[in-house]
């Protein structure tokens, strides 16, 4: 029982997500951080307050990290369909060479 629990914890700690999720994570990271940077500079420049710019920048980065780093379910929506372990599938055509089924 403890073994299963440990397995679950290990899974969450490793935080694997599928390939579509990885693409989404990379896109989100770039867009969000660039936006946070732009917003913090513009707001700071208009209000002429550098402390405000710093807080917006750090807060936005913390939010982005919270959104992308943990393995959320929305990053695991397209899991990879692995083939079954062991022999070929029954419905597979087998290996075809010059029009004749060989394997």
């Amino acid at each position: 029982m403890a073994d299963q629990l440990l397995e679950q914890v290990r899974d969450i700690a490793e935080g694997q997500i599928d390939f579509e999720g990885q693409r989404l994570a990379e896109l989100l990271a770039t867009v969000l951080l660039a936006t946070v940077g732009a917003v913090s500079f513009i707001v700071g420049f208009i209000k002429q307050d550098i402390k405000l710019a710093l807080y917006i920048g750090l807060g936005g980065t913390a939010l982005t990290m919270g959104l992308i780093v943990p393995p959320w379910p929305f990053l695991k929506r397209h899991p990879v369909k692995w083939l079954p372990v062991g022999g070929a599938e029954k419905s597979s055509q087998g290996i075809i060479v010059d029009g004749k089924v060989v394997g």
């Binding site: 490793e14 935080g15 997500i17 951080l33 780093v69």
Partner: protein
């Protein structure tokens, strides 16, 4: 991006890049704000005394105590990126051994902080509270840039490497400043005009002469 650690590393890596770009933009935005500093300074009372560099020294040197009056307006130097402005007054006189060299020594200086850097000042809690309140919640307080000193006692008594100072001619007081930003390069009193950053207007006093050491009158016999 396949595991938590990798995602963390990538996000942090891009974060540092964004930090650098934003800091560069903030430093560049300083060039847009015009700087028009002005100052007038004049020597008030000047004394030359004989003294020692420290208590046990056998060498005796001559020290000049120059009290001065100064009016300055450095309010245009304060932008959102200014952390503090360091203002200093120096006395300089020509060197007797060379045409190009000049002797220069600082007699007084002060640090003027922007409200965003008030917590860094080296003052006690009561003075700190007063300083923070004087800014009244604004992020920049140009009023602090205005300096008005009358007959100010110097912070430092100056001497020359030869140890002899009395009767030196052509002594001139100069005002200098150093703007220390939150991000960006340090800048001092400019020697050339750079865009909307003007040179310090005034800031040099009229030449004066250091007096001789006052001779003590012989004690009057009772």
């Amino acid at each position: 991006m396949h595991s938590t650690i990798v995602r963390g590393q990538n996000v942090f890596g891009f974060f540092t890049t964004v930090c650098f770009v934003v800091a560069a933009l903030i430093a560049a935005s300083d060039l847009l704000a015009p700087r028009t500093p002005k100052a007038t300074v004049a020597a008030n009372t000047v004394q030359v005394v004989r003294g020692r560099p420290h208590y046990y020294s056998t060498k005796k040197e001559e020290y000049a105590i120059i009290r001065f009056t100064m009016n300055a307006d450095f309010s245009s130097l304060f932008t959102w990126n200014t952390k503090q402005v360091f203002v200093y007054v120096s006395a300089s006189w020509p060197n007797s051994t060379s045409e190009e060299l000049v002797n220069e020594a600082v007699i007084w200086d002060t640090i003027i902080t922007n409200p965003s850097a008030d917590h860094l000042q080296n003052i006690g809690p009561a003075a700190m509270k007063k300083l923070v309140k004087s800014a009244k919640g604004k992020s920049i307080d140009p009023k602090r840039g205005k300096i008005d000193l009358k007959n100010q006692k110097p912070k430092y008594q100056i001497t020359a490497p030869t140890g002899k100072l009395q009767d030196t001619d052509g002594v001139v007081l100069r005002v200098h400043y150093n703007v220390q930003p939150w991000v960006g390069v340090l800048t001092w009193t400019p020697q050339i005009e750079f865009g909307s950053w003007k040179k310090l207007k005034g800031g040099v006093s009229k030449a004066f002469k250091l007096p001789s050491i006052k001779k003590k009158d012989p004690p009057k016999k009772a």
